[in-house]
């Protein structure tokens, strides 16, 4: 019953949820939550393939790096959000359009 397919479906659903968050939310922090979900979806895939397909632990190591990157991204992203808020007093994503043509 528990097979690669079930994990892939879970990861797929997680990805879809994260993407929905990314698109639907206009709040930068909420979008960062979505990014976390997407990254975790990817990490689940790695571990699942390690378990069901080739049994070497490279996938685990890759997931570990994903976690590391997620942590770094969260730290820097949130720092940027706070700085952004200090300047603009808002965290609405559509206000961050300084680079707009």
């Amino acid at each position: 019953m528990i097979s690669l397919t079930s994990y892939l479906i879970i990861s797929f659903c997680l990805f879809i949820a994260g993407m929905t968050v990314m698109i639907a939310r206009k709040n930068i922090i909420a979008m960062l939550l979505g990014i976390e979900l997407i990254l975790n979806a990817a990490a689940i895939n790695f571990v699942a393939y390690t378990r069901f397909v080739n049994q070497n632990l490279d996938g685990h190591v890759m997931s570990l790096f994903i976690i590391v990157i997620a942590a770094a991204e969260a730290a820097v992203g949130l720092a940027i959000v706070i700085r952004f808020f200090q300047i603009k007093e808002t965290i609405h994503i559509d206000d961050a359009t300084e680079l707009q043509s």
């Binding site: 019953m1 528990i2 097979s3 690669l4 397919t5 079930s6 994990y7 892939l8 879970i10 797929f12 659903c13 997680l14 879809i16 949820a17 994260g18 993407m19 929905t20 968050v21 698109i23 639907a24 939310r25 206009k26 709040n27 922090i29 909420a30 939550l33 979505g34 976390e36 979900l37 975790n40 990490a43 571990v47 390690t50 378990r51 069901f52 632990l57 490279d58 685990h60 190591v61 997931s63 570990l64 790096f65 976690i67 590391v68 990157i69 997620a70 942590a71 770094a72 991204e73 969260a74 730290a75 820097v76 949130l78 940027i80 959000v81 706070i82 700085r83 808020f85 808002t90 609405h92």
Partner: protein, 176 residues
């Protein structure tokens, strides 16, 4: 049997948390649901025999990222209405009908794309005999300092950069 129960629990937590994260209007609640979802992912790791990864997931997300997010939410809640009017249900910019419609459409498209990619895997995937769970800590440690040592070093530099960068960026400028 135990594994199945565990898997169902973890999957439910993961997907439920993810769904609620996407659905709820309250950012603070979204954060908590995210925590639930991430705990579910840790459970999924456990069912996949990735014990070290599961613990790492707990430490990094529960101990670090989610609290960081909560802090960020509070620090950006607004200066005048810091506590009382900090919108609870009125947190701004959590999306509206329009954005959710767009999101739903793109969700369908993405689902289509991913299913297109995954379909052959589903079809061809044959469940083989799975090995028993073994401790992964040692092997991951060995892999980290042998095969993946470059990535390991780079990620350490990345973390240092993130640490310094976050401190530098978020520090208020002088005179402000």
């Amino acid at each position: 049997m135990f594994l199945k129960i565990m898997f169902i629990l973890a999957a439910t937590m993961t997907l439920g948390g993810a769904f609620l994260t996407a659905y709820t209007k309250n950012l603070m609640h979204a954060c908590v649901y995210l925590l639930v979802s991430l705990f579910g992912v840790a459970g999924l790791y456990a069912t996949l025999g990735a014990d070290f990864l599961a613990a790492t997931q707990l430490v990094v997300y529960a101990g670090g990222v989610v609290i960081l997010m909560l802090f960020a939410i509070m620090l950006t809640g607004g200066i005048q209405n810091f506590v009382n009017k900090f919108g609870l249900d009125k947190v701004p910019s959590m999306g509206n009908g329009k954005t959710y419609t767009i999101a739903g459409l793109s969700m369908i498209i993405t689902a289509f794309i991913i299913m297109k990619v995954l379909a052959p895997i589903f079809k061809t995937n044959v469940q083989g005999e799975l090995p028993a769970f073994a401790s992964t800590v040692e092997e991951i440690g060995v892999l980290l300092v042998t095969d993946h040592v470059l990535a390991f070093e780079i990620s350490s530099i990345l973390l240092l950069g993130a640490l310094v960068g976050a401190a530098v960026i978020s520090r208020p400028r002088r005179g402000k």
